[in-house]
Symmetry: C2
């Protein structure tokens, strides 16, 4: 039986532009070896900072480049958070963001999201109880649900941030990976003075180049740069130099077209397979990104699900890891980008059988009606 891995949100290696990276390494070294191979600014390789500044319509002083956006998020936490501070996050949210926040000893307040993004009513209610120092959001093709925050919700976030003086960390690694529908302006574009926009070339070029970045007010970039310098003096200018040459060569739009052509049929296959095998379980129908998510009800336990899935050659990630508290139901993230449509369809079919079986067992064991109780919504 072929193993199908639904556990990690990694790109398809077939999407990696290794030929252009090879030729752009030669170009970059011919042009600027002495700078690419030396120590340099802890904020990153200047020509790549310039490219990103021009992309995001800001100054070079608003850009820091590091070894992936997760580490930059950690540096932001190092620079801004003290134990006991309050941070609002979406519920569910990126599991590694939760881990990083827990390490900083802050109080994490999760706020439910639905297909339009974070629930503004609940957010306002929580604001009466605490003022967060940071709010961590993934507005575009949210990890783990695939949801896209509506323009109205983004506007509400900006209004509340201005009223209550908190900073928004907008994690946007999937922004460019829209396969259908109309792009929604980023929170940063609406309120650059209070937004720390994180992004990365991980999903656009490859994880191995380890090149993520921050676009933020210059005083934020300064503070985060100090943390970066204390950590590693300067980041990997060799990789950043290659990425800079690759971008300057006009490769990014071509690569984005290729990625959209590769990933859109996978999203379509995934959603169709879920409609067929797990009807009514889809969290939302995403228009881009790397993930769809499922609500599998409260009759299934995580451990039983993972064990039963392994028995049919399926590897699943922990659903509860994406929650700051026990969600009270079984959640599952399904990354679809690294698998060809045939594998996705087969994987969802197997998952459907496992879920049906566990629901039957759960029903018999608990003699409860097959209706799901409280699930995340707002």
């Amino acid at each position: 039986m072929r193993i199908i891995d639904f556990s990690r949100g990694v790109p398809d290696p077939r999407s990696f532009p290794s030929d252009s990276l090879r030729s752009m390494t030669a170009t970059a070294l011919a042009r600027d070896a002495a700078r690419m191979l030396q120590y340099g600014s802890p904020a990153g390789y200047p020509p790549l900072r310039e490219y990103i500044a021009s992309w995001f319509n800001c100054a070079i002083a608003n850009v820091l480049i590091g070894h992936g956006s997760l580490e930059i998020f950690k540096f932001i936490c190092d620079a801004y958070l003290e134990p006991g501070d309050v941070v609002f996050v979406e519920r569910p949210t990126y599991d590694r963001a939760i881990t990083t926040l827990r390490q900083h000893g802050v109080e994490i307040v999760g706020i439910d999201i639905d297909e339009h993004g974070i629930c503004v009513d609940v957010f306002e209610h929580e604001l009466h109880r605490h003022v967060p120092k940071l709010v961590y959001l993934i507005p575009d093709f949210h990890n783990p649900t695939g949801a896209c925050m509506s323009l109205d919700v983004r506007r509400a976030m900006v209004r509340l941030a201005r009223e209550h003086q908190f900073l928004i960390v907008e994690d946007g690694p999937y922004c460019c990976l829209r396969y259908t529908g109309i792009p929604i302006p980023s929170i940063r574009s609406m309120a650059p003075e209070l937004t720390l926009h994180l992004s990365s070339f991980t999903k656009l070029i490859s994880p191995g180049v380890r090149t993520g970045f921050l676009v933020a007010p210059d005083e934020v970039v300064k503070r985060v740069t100090s943390v970066a310098e204390r950590n590693y003096i300067a980041p990997c200018f060799f990789a950043q130099g290659v990425v800079a040459a690759w971008c300057a060569d006009g490769q990014l739009p071509l690569q984005l077209d290729r990625l959209r052509q590769l990933y859109r049929p996978r999203l379509d296959a995934c959603v169709q397979a879920i409609d067929d095998s797990l009807p009514g379980r889809l969290f939302t129908h995403p228009e881009g990104g790397f993930f769809v998510a499922l609500r599998l009800g409260n009759l299934i336990e995580e451990k039983s699900l993972q064990v039963a899935a392994r028995g049919v050659g399926l590897i699943l990630s922990s659903g509860s890891a994406f929650f700051d508290i026990d969600p009270g139901y079984q959640f599952l993230r399904v990354p679809f980008c690294a698998l060809p449509p045939g594998d996705i369809i087969e994987g969802i079919r197997r998952l459907g059988n496992v879920v049906d079986h566990l629901n039957e067992v759960g029903l018999r064991g608990k003699t409860l009606p097959l209706t799901d109780t409280k699930e995340a919504s707002c």
Copy 2:
């Protein structure tokens, strides 16, 4: 007037092997693009871990590769230290190690070193007062003094570590850069079970590849790997893949020969110029590495020295930053690798004039005899 920069311990960009890095990028991508460009083990790119394991005669489980040895040292501190723990360091020592330890809120106990390394008597005396959790040492071509720890002192360190159950962090980025004399076995080679050996390709290939590594007991590598994963998921496999191909191609010994040929005349010129212009001020006559150091006495203040040096086109680093406490005299580190011999000779000549002048002013101002009081020794 030509500016001469004696402030930073950086390699000469003319030493960077950019041609072989370019061709080895092509080789590496042709051979293993899918792995080099994907996420992978947080402990580093497996073929480079294998190369280092074979170099250090250990298992792959004893090797972790990250973005420079400073960040790995930080991860070691994250994994092992709690606020209030005691860490012994050489006095003086690498300034960024002091900064990292201070961030961890530990008690730093500096122990004087002389030309044979750390003073064992003082070390034993301090052991009666505290048991350190870690001891941080730079035995080969010590930063900032250039001193090499003698075999006897290394043996004493191993004996004391076994008796008192502390771990030794042996920072060895300059080990391969011996220009004269006979190599001394590393502490790790004498006691691999208690040594965390840090090293790096920064001084051997280039800082821009941002590839440093740890060779340590496997349970240490495991703990540090967990910290690395929480920070950045996986390190820059693109750079590590290129370094691995470059090493597998047999480039390292060739490059080491080139570096020794380039740097040895610079060391010789530097020591000769100091004998001519600043007689009696040399901390020790190094046999390799990146640095010589000067004891400039207690009549000169750091700020006056830096200002006067700037006035004659010399950029100097802070000498006091290398000490955990005020050393009571003016110390100066002189990095010689990035400058051609002519610049070194001219720079030391200017420095000699500045020091003579400031000593005269100091003498007149303080009406003290021109003899240096307490200086670091043991």
